[in-house]
Amino acid sequence: MAGHVVIDRELCLGSGMCLVYAPNTFAHDEQSKAVIVDPAGDSAEEIDTAVDACPVGALSWAPGDDTGGATGDVPSTAGHGSTAG
Protein backbone atom coordinates (compact mmCIF):
# COMPACT_ATOMS: atom_id res chain seq x y z
CA MET A 1 0.00 0.00 0.00
CA ALA A 2 1.40 3.40 -0.95
CA GLY A 3 0.75 6.45 1.16
CA HIS A 4 1.43 7.75 4.63
CA VAL A 5 0.53 6.65 8.14
CA VAL A 6 -2.18 8.49 10.04
CA ILE A 7 -2.39 8.36 13.85
CA ASP A 8 -5.81 8.66 15.48
CA ARG A 9 -4.96 10.34 18.77
CA GLU A 10 -8.39 9.63 20.22
CA LEU A 11 -7.92 5.91 19.71
CA CYS A 12 -4.21 5.82 20.62
CA LEU A 13 -3.75 4.15 23.98
CA GLY A 14 -0.02 4.71 24.25
CA SER A 15 0.63 0.96 24.37
CA GLY A 16 3.97 1.44 22.62
CA MET A 17 3.51 -1.49 20.23
CA CYS A 18 4.43 0.72 17.26
CA LEU A 19 7.68 1.66 19.04
CA VAL A 20 8.56 -2.05 19.31
CA TYR A 21 8.36 -2.69 15.57
CA ALA A 22 9.36 0.71 14.15
CA PRO A 23 11.32 2.45 16.93
CA ASN A 24 12.99 4.95 14.61
CA THR A 25 9.71 6.09 13.10
CA PHE A 26 7.39 6.37 16.10
CA ALA A 27 7.80 7.92 19.55
CA HIS A 28 5.52 9.02 22.37
CA ASP A 29 4.67 12.63 23.14
CA GLU A 30 4.29 13.93 26.70
CA GLN A 31 0.78 12.46 26.86
CA SER A 32 2.10 9.01 25.85
CA LYS A 33 0.39 9.30 22.48
CA ALA A 34 2.17 8.00 19.39
CA VAL A 35 3.78 10.58 17.10
CA ILE A 36 5.88 10.16 13.98
CA VAL A 37 9.43 11.42 14.45
CA ASP A 38 10.89 10.25 11.15
CA PRO A 39 8.53 9.19 8.37
CA ALA A 40 11.19 6.93 6.88
CA GLY A 41 12.99 5.97 10.09
CA ASP A 42 12.40 2.27 9.48
CA SER A 43 11.85 0.11 6.43
CA ALA A 44 8.47 0.03 4.77
CA GLU A 45 8.01 -3.51 5.99
CA GLU A 46 8.77 -2.56 9.61
CA ILE A 47 6.39 0.40 9.51
CA ASP A 48 3.66 -1.82 8.11
CA THR A 49 4.31 -4.33 10.91
CA ALA A 50 3.85 -1.49 13.41
CA VAL A 51 0.55 -0.47 11.78
CA ASP A 52 -0.64 -4.09 11.97
CA ALA A 53 0.54 -4.39 15.59
CA CYS A 54 -1.43 -1.45 16.99
CA PRO A 55 -3.87 -3.17 19.37
CA VAL A 56 -6.61 -0.56 18.94
CA GLY A 57 -6.26 0.24 15.23
CA ALA A 58 -5.04 3.77 15.87
CA LEU A 59 -2.57 3.58 12.96
CA SER A 60 -3.73 3.38 9.38
CA TRP A 61 -2.43 3.97 5.89
CA ALA A 62 -3.86 6.93 4.01
CA PRO A 63 -3.32 7.17 0.27
CA GLY A 64 -1.04 9.70 -1.36
CA ASP A 65 1.49 12.18 0.02
CA ASP A 66 4.21 9.57 -0.07
CA THR A 67 7.59 11.21 -0.19
CA GLY A 68 9.47 8.04 -0.98
CA GLY A 69 7.83 7.42 -4.30
CA ALA A 70 6.14 4.28 -3.06
CA THR A 71 4.47 2.22 -5.67
CA GLY A 72 2.76 -1.12 -5.66
CA ASP A 73 1.39 -2.57 -2.49
CA VAL A 74 4.13 -1.93 0.03
CA PRO A 75 4.56 1.35 1.89
CA SER A 76 7.84 3.20 1.62
CA THR A 77 7.27 5.96 4.09
CA ALA A 78 5.24 6.91 7.12
CA GLY A 79 4.38 10.15 5.38
CA HIS A 80 4.69 13.66 6.77
CA GLY A 81 4.30 13.14 10.46
CA SER A 82 0.57 13.41 10.06
CA THR A 83 -1.67 13.23 13.04
CA ALA A 84 -5.43 13.19 13.04
CA GLY A 85 -8.18 13.63 15.60
Binding site: L13, G16, M17, Y21, H28, S32, E45, T49, P55, G57
Partner: protein
Amino acid sequence: MTTAILDRERIKALFDLRSAANVWTGGDFEADPYPIWAKLREDAPVHEGTLHKLTGYPGEAMFQGLPEPDRAHFTAFSYAALDAAYRDPETFASSGSAIDPTTAGLENSMIYMGGTQHRRYRGLVQPSFVPAKAQWWLINWIQEAVQELINNFVNDGRAELNVDFCAAIPVLTITGSFGIPPEEALDLRAVLQDSAAVIQRLVPIVAARREEPKDDLISILVQATMQDEDGVSHQLSDGEIYAFALLLLHAGSGTTWKQMGITLANLLARPEVLARVREDRALLRPAIEESLRWVPTDPMFSRYVTKDVEFFGTELPKGAVLHLNVASANRDPARWTNPDEFDISRQARASFAFGGGPHICLGMHVARAEIRAGVSALLDRLPNLRLDPDAEAPRFIGMYERGVTEIPVLFG
Protein backbone atom coordinates in the same frame (compact mmCIF):
# COMPACT_ATOMS: atom_id res chain seq x y z
CA MET B 1 20.29 -4.33 48.54
CA THR B 2 21.18 -7.88 49.38
CA THR B 3 19.25 -10.78 47.94
CA ALA B 4 21.10 -13.35 50.03
CA ILE B 5 18.23 -13.04 52.51
CA LEU B 6 15.86 -14.59 49.97
CA ASP B 7 15.14 -18.12 51.15
CA ARG B 8 15.69 -20.54 48.26
CA GLU B 9 13.27 -23.16 49.57
CA ARG B 10 10.61 -20.52 50.11
CA ILE B 11 11.02 -19.22 46.58
CA LYS B 12 10.66 -22.77 45.30
CA ALA B 13 7.48 -23.35 47.31
CA LEU B 14 5.96 -20.08 46.09
CA PHE B 15 6.96 -20.20 42.44
CA ASP B 16 7.62 -23.78 41.25
CA LEU B 17 4.72 -24.61 38.92
CA ARG B 18 4.51 -28.11 40.41
CA SER B 19 4.22 -26.87 43.99
CA ALA B 20 0.93 -26.95 45.90
CA ALA B 21 0.70 -23.17 45.54
CA ASN B 22 0.31 -23.44 41.78
CA VAL B 23 -1.76 -26.57 41.16
CA TRP B 24 -4.96 -24.51 41.01
CA THR B 25 -4.03 -23.14 37.55
CA GLY B 26 -3.11 -26.61 36.30
CA GLY B 27 0.56 -26.48 37.28
CA ASP B 28 0.67 -30.29 37.30
CA PHE B 29 -0.12 -30.52 33.56
CA GLU B 30 2.99 -31.99 31.91
CA ALA B 31 1.87 -33.10 28.42
CA ASP B 32 2.67 -31.11 25.25
CA PRO B 33 -0.60 -29.31 24.43
CA TYR B 34 0.53 -27.86 21.09
CA PRO B 35 -0.32 -30.89 18.88
CA ILE B 36 -3.78 -31.01 20.48
CA TRP B 37 -4.29 -27.28 19.94
CA ALA B 38 -3.07 -27.52 16.33
CA LYS B 39 -5.62 -30.26 15.63
CA LEU B 40 -8.43 -28.26 17.25
CA ARG B 41 -7.41 -25.13 15.30
CA GLU B 42 -7.43 -27.12 12.04
CA ASP B 43 -10.86 -28.53 12.80
CA ALA B 44 -12.52 -25.16 13.55
CA PRO B 45 -11.51 -21.68 14.74
CA VAL B 46 -13.98 -21.86 17.67
CA HIS B 47 -15.02 -24.88 19.77
CA GLU B 48 -17.54 -25.30 22.57
CA GLY B 49 -15.90 -25.97 25.94
CA THR B 50 -13.16 -24.62 28.18
CA LEU B 51 -9.57 -24.80 27.00
CA HIS B 52 -8.45 -27.20 29.72
CA LYS B 53 -11.30 -29.64 29.00
CA LEU B 54 -10.71 -29.45 25.25
CA THR B 55 -7.00 -30.09 25.93
CA GLY B 56 -7.80 -33.19 27.96
CA TYR B 57 -6.77 -31.87 31.37
CA PRO B 58 -8.51 -34.23 33.80
CA GLY B 59 -9.20 -31.87 36.71
CA GLU B 60 -10.45 -28.35 37.20
CA ALA B 61 -8.03 -25.55 36.39
CA MET B 62 -8.64 -21.91 37.20
CA PHE B 63 -7.78 -18.69 35.45
CA GLN B 64 -9.43 -15.45 34.39
CA GLY B 65 -12.93 -16.27 33.09
CA LEU B 66 -13.19 -19.49 35.14
CA PRO B 67 -14.92 -21.33 36.68
CA GLU B 68 -18.19 -19.45 35.86
CA PRO B 69 -20.29 -22.65 36.18
CA ASP B 70 -23.54 -20.91 35.18
CA ARG B 71 -22.25 -19.72 31.81
CA ALA B 72 -21.68 -21.46 28.47
CA HIS B 73 -17.99 -21.75 27.55
CA PHE B 74 -16.31 -21.57 24.15
CA THR B 75 -12.64 -21.41 23.11
CA ALA B 76 -11.15 -19.67 20.06
CA PHE B 77 -7.96 -21.03 18.51
CA SER B 78 -7.15 -19.12 15.29
CA TYR B 79 -5.23 -15.87 14.96
CA ALA B 80 -8.06 -14.26 12.97
CA ALA B 81 -10.68 -15.18 15.60
CA LEU B 82 -8.59 -13.81 18.46
CA ASP B 83 -7.81 -10.65 16.50
CA ALA B 84 -11.52 -10.07 15.88
CA ALA B 85 -12.43 -10.67 19.53
CA TYR B 86 -9.66 -8.47 20.93
CA ARG B 87 -10.59 -5.63 18.57
CA ASP B 88 -14.32 -5.70 19.49
CA PRO B 89 -14.46 -5.06 23.25
CA GLU B 90 -18.14 -4.04 23.03
CA THR B 91 -19.13 -7.57 22.01
CA PHE B 92 -16.34 -9.31 23.93
CA ALA B 93 -16.11 -7.57 27.31
CA SER B 94 -13.44 -8.05 29.97
CA SER B 95 -15.93 -8.61 32.77
CA GLY B 96 -19.35 -10.17 33.21
CA SER B 97 -20.43 -7.40 35.58
CA ALA B 98 -19.96 -3.69 36.25
CA ILE B 99 -16.81 -2.56 38.04
CA ASP B 100 -16.86 -0.34 41.13
CA PRO B 101 -13.42 1.27 41.32
CA THR B 102 -14.15 2.85 44.71
CA THR B 103 -14.04 -0.60 46.33
CA ALA B 104 -10.50 -1.86 46.72
CA GLY B 105 -9.87 -5.31 45.36
CA LEU B 106 -8.43 -7.09 42.36
CA GLU B 107 -11.96 -7.69 41.04
CA ASN B 108 -12.39 -3.92 40.72
CA SER B 109 -9.06 -3.22 39.01
CA MET B 110 -8.83 -1.90 35.48
CA ILE B 111 -8.16 -5.28 33.89
CA TYR B 112 -11.91 -5.90 34.22
CA MET B 113 -13.07 -2.44 33.14
CA GLY B 114 -14.33 -1.48 29.70
CA GLY B 115 -14.77 1.54 27.43
CA THR B 116 -14.07 5.02 28.73
CA GLN B 117 -13.74 3.83 32.34
CA HIS B 118 -10.83 1.59 31.36
CA ARG B 119 -9.32 4.29 29.14
CA ARG B 120 -9.29 6.84 32.00
CA TYR B 121 -7.60 4.51 34.47
CA ARG B 122 -5.17 3.11 31.96
CA GLY B 123 -4.25 6.61 30.76
CA LEU B 124 -3.25 7.46 34.29
CA VAL B 125 -0.59 4.77 34.59
CA GLN B 126 0.40 4.26 30.95
CA PRO B 127 3.14 6.97 31.09
CA SER B 128 4.99 4.93 33.75
CA PHE B 129 5.06 1.88 31.48
CA VAL B 130 5.98 3.24 28.03
CA PRO B 131 9.21 2.00 26.34
CA ALA B 132 11.03 5.24 27.22
CA LYS B 133 10.37 4.54 30.90
CA ALA B 134 12.10 1.14 30.77
CA GLN B 135 15.37 2.79 31.76
CA TRP B 136 13.73 4.16 34.93
CA TRP B 137 12.70 0.63 35.91
CA LEU B 138 16.11 -0.78 34.96
CA ILE B 139 18.20 1.71 36.92
CA ASN B 140 15.97 1.93 39.98
CA TRP B 141 15.12 -1.74 40.50
CA ILE B 142 15.90 -4.32 37.82
CA GLN B 143 19.67 -4.10 37.36
CA GLU B 144 20.54 -4.22 41.04
CA ALA B 145 18.33 -7.26 41.63
CA VAL B 146 19.84 -9.04 38.62
CA GLN B 147 23.44 -8.44 39.70
CA GLU B 148 22.76 -9.35 43.35
CA LEU B 149 21.12 -12.62 42.37
CA ILE B 150 24.08 -13.59 40.16
CA ASN B 151 26.45 -12.73 43.04
CA ASN B 152 24.76 -15.51 45.02
CA PHE B 153 26.00 -18.27 42.68
CA VAL B 154 28.70 -16.78 40.44
CA ASN B 155 31.48 -18.64 42.27
CA ASP B 156 29.69 -22.01 42.38
CA GLY B 157 30.22 -23.09 38.77
CA ARG B 158 26.59 -24.25 38.65
CA ALA B 159 23.10 -22.92 39.33
CA GLU B 160 19.43 -23.65 38.87
CA LEU B 161 18.37 -20.52 37.03
CA ASN B 162 14.58 -20.91 37.18
CA VAL B 163 14.31 -20.53 40.95
CA ASP B 164 17.68 -19.03 41.85
CA PHE B 165 17.47 -16.33 39.24
CA CYS B 166 14.29 -15.85 37.18
CA ALA B 167 11.70 -16.27 39.94
CA ALA B 168 12.91 -13.45 42.15
CA ILE B 169 13.57 -10.68 39.60
CA PRO B 170 10.01 -9.51 38.81
CA VAL B 171 8.76 -9.69 42.40
CA LEU B 172 11.78 -7.67 43.56
CA THR B 173 11.18 -5.18 40.74
CA ILE B 174 7.53 -4.62 41.58
CA THR B 175 7.84 -4.57 45.36
CA GLY B 176 10.87 -2.28 44.93
CA SER B 177 8.74 0.12 42.89
CA PHE B 178 6.23 0.08 45.78
CA GLY B 179 8.99 1.01 48.24
CA ILE B 180 8.99 -2.41 49.92
CA PRO B 181 12.46 -3.73 50.90
CA PRO B 182 13.70 -7.08 49.43
CA GLU B 183 13.50 -8.90 52.78
CA GLU B 184 9.72 -8.31 52.76
CA ALA B 185 9.15 -9.07 49.06
CA LEU B 186 8.44 -12.76 49.55
CA ASP B 187 6.10 -12.04 52.48
CA LEU B 188 3.95 -10.02 50.12
CA ARG B 189 4.11 -12.65 47.39
CA ALA B 190 3.12 -15.33 49.90
CA VAL B 191 -0.15 -13.56 50.76
CA LEU B 192 -0.95 -12.60 47.16
CA GLN B 193 -4.29 -14.44 47.20
CA ASP B 194 -5.30 -12.58 50.38
CA SER B 195 -6.02 -9.04 49.15
CA ALA B 196 -6.70 -7.70 52.65
CA ALA B 197 -3.26 -8.82 53.82
CA VAL B 198 -1.55 -7.16 50.85
CA ILE B 199 -3.52 -3.95 51.39
CA GLN B 200 -2.59 -3.95 55.07
CA ARG B 201 1.06 -3.81 54.02
CA LEU B 202 0.39 -1.02 51.52
CA VAL B 203 -1.55 1.28 53.88
CA PRO B 204 1.48 2.86 55.63
CA ILE B 205 3.39 3.18 52.35
CA VAL B 206 0.57 5.04 50.58
CA ALA B 207 0.15 7.30 53.62
CA ALA B 208 3.88 8.02 53.73
CA ARG B 209 4.05 8.84 50.01
CA ARG B 210 1.10 11.21 50.35
CA GLU B 211 3.14 13.05 53.01
CA GLU B 212 6.44 12.93 51.15
CA PRO B 213 6.62 11.58 47.58
CA LYS B 214 9.71 9.71 46.41
CA ASP B 215 10.90 8.52 42.99
CA ASP B 216 8.76 5.39 42.92
CA LEU B 217 5.49 4.09 41.52
CA ILE B 218 3.31 4.64 44.60
CA SER B 219 4.44 8.27 44.64
CA ILE B 220 3.38 8.64 41.00
CA LEU B 221 -0.02 7.16 41.83
CA VAL B 222 -0.68 9.38 44.85
CA GLN B 223 0.19 12.48 42.81
CA ALA B 224 -1.73 11.49 39.68
CA THR B 225 -4.95 13.27 38.80
CA MET B 226 -7.76 11.85 36.72
CA GLN B 227 -10.77 13.48 35.10
CA ASP B 228 -14.01 11.78 35.99
CA GLU B 229 -16.99 11.49 33.61
CA ASP B 230 -18.12 15.04 34.48
CA GLY B 231 -14.71 16.46 33.61
CA VAL B 232 -13.82 17.11 37.25
CA SER B 233 -10.22 16.31 38.19
CA HIS B 234 -9.53 14.32 41.30
CA GLN B 235 -6.69 12.36 42.84
CA LEU B 236 -6.79 8.59 43.12
CA SER B 237 -8.33 7.34 46.35
CA ASP B 238 -6.41 4.91 48.54
CA GLY B 239 -8.79 2.17 47.37
CA GLU B 240 -8.03 2.85 43.73
CA ILE B 241 -4.30 2.72 44.44
CA TYR B 242 -4.64 -0.58 46.34
CA ALA B 243 -6.62 -2.13 43.44
CA PHE B 244 -3.94 -1.10 40.97
CA ALA B 245 -1.12 -2.33 43.22
CA LEU B 246 -2.88 -5.71 43.57
CA LEU B 247 -3.25 -5.98 39.81
CA LEU B 248 0.41 -5.16 39.29
CA LEU B 249 1.55 -7.72 41.87
CA HIS B 250 -0.59 -10.44 40.32
CA ALA B 251 0.23 -9.62 36.71
CA GLY B 252 3.89 -8.82 37.15
CA SER B 253 5.24 -11.19 39.79
CA GLY B 254 3.67 -14.33 38.30
CA THR B 255 4.36 -13.96 34.59
CA THR B 256 7.66 -12.34 33.62
CA TRP B 257 9.83 -14.79 35.56
CA LYS B 258 8.28 -17.73 33.72
CA GLN B 259 8.74 -16.03 30.37
CA MET B 260 12.38 -15.34 31.25
CA GLY B 261 12.80 -19.03 32.09
CA ILE B 262 11.17 -20.02 28.78
CA THR B 263 13.56 -17.70 26.91
CA LEU B 264 16.62 -19.10 28.71
CA ALA B 265 15.50 -22.69 28.16
CA ASN B 266 14.99 -22.04 24.44
CA LEU B 267 18.49 -20.54 24.09
CA LEU B 268 20.28 -23.14 26.24
CA ALA B 269 18.65 -25.96 24.26
CA ARG B 270 20.16 -24.42 21.11
CA PRO B 271 23.85 -23.73 21.88
CA GLU B 272 24.52 -22.35 18.39
CA VAL B 273 21.73 -19.77 18.80
CA LEU B 274 22.95 -18.94 22.31
CA ALA B 275 26.47 -18.38 20.93
CA ARG B 276 25.13 -15.99 18.31
CA VAL B 277 23.18 -14.04 20.92
CA ARG B 278 26.23 -13.92 23.20
CA GLU B 279 28.27 -12.43 20.33
CA ASP B 280 25.61 -10.04 19.12
CA ARG B 281 23.29 -8.79 21.87
CA ALA B 282 21.07 -7.11 19.28
CA LEU B 283 19.80 -10.65 18.64
CA LEU B 284 18.44 -10.82 22.18
CA ARG B 285 15.39 -8.79 21.19
CA PRO B 286 14.27 -11.17 18.40
CA ALA B 287 15.13 -14.14 20.65
CA ILE B 288 12.81 -12.78 23.34
CA GLU B 289 10.05 -11.95 20.83
CA GLU B 290 10.28 -15.43 19.32
CA SER B 291 10.10 -17.02 22.78
CA LEU B 292 7.02 -14.93 23.52
CA ARG B 293 5.39 -16.17 20.31
CA TRP B 294 6.54 -19.78 20.63
CA VAL B 295 5.53 -20.39 24.28
CA PRO B 296 3.64 -17.49 25.90
CA THR B 297 3.50 -18.10 29.65
CA ASP B 298 -0.22 -17.26 29.86
CA PRO B 299 -1.82 -19.26 27.02
CA MET B 300 -5.38 -18.10 27.63
CA PHE B 301 -7.43 -15.05 28.56
CA SER B 302 -11.21 -14.77 28.52
CA ARG B 303 -13.87 -12.38 27.29
CA TYR B 304 -17.58 -12.18 28.14
CA VAL B 305 -20.03 -12.22 25.22
CA THR B 306 -22.41 -9.25 25.56
CA LYS B 307 -24.93 -10.18 22.83
CA ASP B 308 -25.93 -13.18 20.73
CA VAL B 309 -23.45 -13.33 17.88
CA GLU B 310 -22.31 -15.67 15.14
CA PHE B 311 -18.56 -15.81 15.46
CA PHE B 312 -16.38 -17.70 12.96
CA GLY B 313 -19.12 -20.22 12.28
CA THR B 314 -20.23 -20.74 15.87
CA GLU B 315 -23.29 -19.23 17.56
CA LEU B 316 -22.19 -17.59 20.80
CA PRO B 317 -25.07 -16.77 23.18
CA LYS B 318 -25.14 -13.58 25.25
CA GLY B 319 -23.51 -14.25 28.63
CA ALA B 320 -21.14 -16.93 27.35
CA VAL B 321 -17.43 -16.88 28.16
CA LEU B 322 -15.09 -16.96 25.16
CA HIS B 323 -11.63 -18.27 26.04
CA LEU B 324 -8.93 -16.91 23.76
CA ASN B 325 -6.13 -19.43 23.26
CA VAL B 326 -3.28 -17.04 22.53
CA ALA B 327 -0.75 -19.88 22.47
CA SER B 328 -2.59 -21.57 19.60
CA ALA B 329 -3.08 -18.29 17.72
CA ASN B 330 0.65 -17.63 18.08
CA ARG B 331 1.31 -20.77 16.04
CA ASP B 332 -1.39 -20.29 13.42
CA PRO B 333 0.12 -21.23 10.04
CA ALA B 334 -2.16 -18.66 8.44
CA ARG B 335 0.09 -16.01 10.02
CA TRP B 336 3.48 -17.69 10.48
CA THR B 337 5.49 -19.97 8.19
CA ASN B 338 6.62 -23.15 9.96
CA PRO B 339 4.96 -21.90 13.16
CA ASP B 340 6.18 -24.77 15.35
CA GLU B 341 9.82 -23.93 14.66
CA PHE B 342 11.71 -21.70 17.11
CA ASP B 343 13.43 -19.31 14.70
CA ILE B 344 14.87 -16.02 15.93
CA SER B 345 15.50 -14.88 12.35
CA ARG B 346 11.86 -14.92 11.32
CA GLN B 347 10.35 -11.58 10.29
CA ALA B 348 9.03 -9.68 13.29
CA ARG B 349 5.24 -9.61 13.57
CA ALA B 350 3.04 -8.93 16.56
CA SER B 351 1.88 -12.03 18.42
CA PHE B 352 -0.73 -12.24 21.18
CA ALA B 353 1.83 -13.09 23.90
CA PHE B 354 0.85 -9.88 25.70
CA GLY B 355 -2.81 -10.09 24.67
CA GLY B 356 -4.40 -7.59 22.32
CA GLY B 357 -7.00 -4.86 22.06
CA PRO B 358 -7.29 -2.04 24.60
CA HIS B 359 -6.24 -4.38 27.45
CA ILE B 360 -2.91 -5.31 25.89
CA CYS B 361 -0.42 -5.88 28.70
CA LEU B 362 0.41 -2.60 30.46
CA GLY B 363 3.73 -3.96 31.74
CA MET B 364 5.00 -5.52 28.51
CA HIS B 365 7.89 -3.09 28.04
CA VAL B 366 9.00 -3.54 31.66
CA ALA B 367 8.76 -7.32 31.20
CA ARG B 368 10.89 -7.13 28.05
CA ALA B 369 13.43 -4.95 29.90
CA GLU B 370 13.58 -7.45 32.79
CA ILE B 371 14.14 -10.42 30.48
CA ARG B 372 16.69 -8.54 28.39
CA ALA B 373 18.62 -7.35 31.46
CA GLY B 374 18.49 -10.78 33.10
CA VAL B 375 19.65 -12.86 30.14
CA SER B 376 22.27 -10.32 29.11
CA ALA B 377 23.77 -10.18 32.61
CA LEU B 378 24.01 -13.98 32.71
CA LEU B 379 25.85 -13.97 29.38
CA ASP B 380 28.17 -11.20 30.61
CA ARG B 381 29.11 -12.84 33.89
CA LEU B 382 28.89 -16.61 33.30
CA PRO B 383 31.40 -17.76 30.66
CA ASN B 384 30.62 -20.95 28.77
CA LEU B 385 27.07 -21.03 30.14
CA ARG B 386 25.46 -24.37 29.24
CA LEU B 387 22.86 -26.87 30.39
CA ASP B 388 24.14 -29.40 32.94
CA PRO B 389 24.38 -32.59 30.84
CA ASP B 390 23.93 -34.79 33.95
CA ALA B 391 20.65 -33.16 35.03
CA GLU B 392 17.19 -33.38 33.50
CA ALA B 393 16.79 -30.80 30.74
CA PRO B 394 14.12 -28.12 31.19
CA ARG B 395 10.62 -29.25 30.27
CA PHE B 396 7.65 -26.97 29.50
CA ILE B 397 4.74 -27.64 31.84
CA GLY B 398 1.53 -26.04 33.12
CA MET B 399 -2.01 -25.56 31.82
CA TYR B 400 -2.96 -21.91 32.35
CA GLU B 401 0.45 -20.78 33.62
CA ARG B 402 3.18 -22.29 31.50
CA GLY B 403 6.87 -22.34 32.28
CA VAL B 404 9.82 -24.67 32.63
CA THR B 405 10.55 -27.24 35.31
CA GLU B 406 14.13 -26.31 36.19
CA ILE B 407 17.10 -24.81 34.37
CA PRO B 408 20.21 -26.58 35.71
CA VAL B 409 23.33 -24.97 34.23
CA LEU B 410 27.11 -25.17 34.44
CA PHE B 411 29.52 -22.34 33.65
CA GLY B 412 33.19 -21.50 33.76
